[in-house]
Symmetry: C2
Amino acid sequence: MNASDKIWTAALVVIGDEILSGRTHDRNIAQLASWLQVQGIRLAEARVVSDDMDAIAEAVNTLRVRNDYLFTTGGIGPTHDDITVDAVARALGVGVVVHPQARAILERYYADKPGGLTEARLRMARVPDGADLIENRMSGAPGIRIENIFLMAGVPHITAGMLDWLTGRLEGGAPLISETVGCWTAESEVAGILREVEKAHANCQVGSYPFFREGRVGANFVIRSTDREELDSAVDTLCEALGEEGYDFTPGGI
Amino acid sequence: MNASDKIWTAALVVIGDEILSGRTHDRNIAQLASWLQVQGIRLAEARVVSDDMDAIAEAVNTLRVRNDYLFTTGGIGPTHDDITVDAVARALGVGVVVHPQARAILERYYADKPGGLTEARLRMARVPDGADLIENRMSGAPGIRIENIFLMAGVPHITAGMLDWLTGRLEGGAPLISETVGCWTAESEVAGILREVEKAHANCQVGSYPFFREGRVGANFVIRSTDREELDSAVDTLCEALGEEGYDFTPGGI
């Protein structure tokens, strides 16, 4: 494998009792996954853990060593259940300090707001010792980068702003590209065809995603690859095979 | 701690490249979490892993021993990327067999469908040796139970049907109940109040979930407990404290 073939991977730790209680539907797994694809980085694993120091530290320490990047979402706000900074510092064996630039950002942000920069709000300037900041264009408190770890907000539109700022700043490989072919058939009817297509194209993964719509069963077949030529060839093979068997299929997906 | 105080926990392994690619938004974490709460079982952790034997087996083996129950969603269909049964069998060190009752169910289900019971479809009768079935009221292929592991469908409405069938069949503890108080304030303004309420009520957890709506910031404070009396007392304490400070709050949430 030469350097350009390296597969860059990331993991995500979603932090929050609100996700594990079912109260809040996570949207950051899908959001980060889509963003990573464009950066040429693959999301290898995601974990949802509770607002618990040991649980967060364990997940962070396991996943940061086996991936190029580790992201966390949630738990960097001003309230007592926001313990991500402390947990990551513990995982790394470093202290927690107030970041002067973060403090300055918060001072400006809260200058004209009721209450001003309270002690609780100042918590959002705390970072693991040695960290840099990730710009937050949506609200005051910045995200945090330390080593290969990125601590992001839990609220999806704030996370989105932080990802936007990070765009192009992380090294990645060739972006994973995909094509979809939809077909009005039960996936179980064409399982053999899918298997053959994947076998014949070593650099492609073929996924099958069934649905039930308008009273009929169907499936979308998604082919993923970092190689455009291989991808196109796999799509052609699949469409030919479906056509030969008389299936009603739609390049681009249904 | 006496037996009735036992906290029952479960973990979830969501299996599928389609979630990690961002193509499909997971809905099973929230669905399972909500269902578990009613059974008196707490979702302690969720992991999303790829369609990879080792990744699935590792997550299953780690989480099944530290929880009372382990659920998986996804990867039990008829196509080549459906490898959950094989991965769980490997994790448990048992073989894979065709379950006679599952085979009979599939024979009936596909009797009048185009193609009949193909080899691919018969894959859905394969189970880790020693497993029982979980009824699937929505489509043919059943879910699978072996030891404390429950293998469920990935398609949310099929998962829902399986959970419905499991309702009342799993031992749990006292259900976690919750109350919400909404407030038109930045959560950072009232962080001190929240911390005090939680400190004063050992059996309650207080979560704070900020939002930005109608041009104003606000937050919902969710108090969770297995003890109705403690919960009500914590809500009263919170509302009193918010009232004394002149905040605009709404019992029941905003």
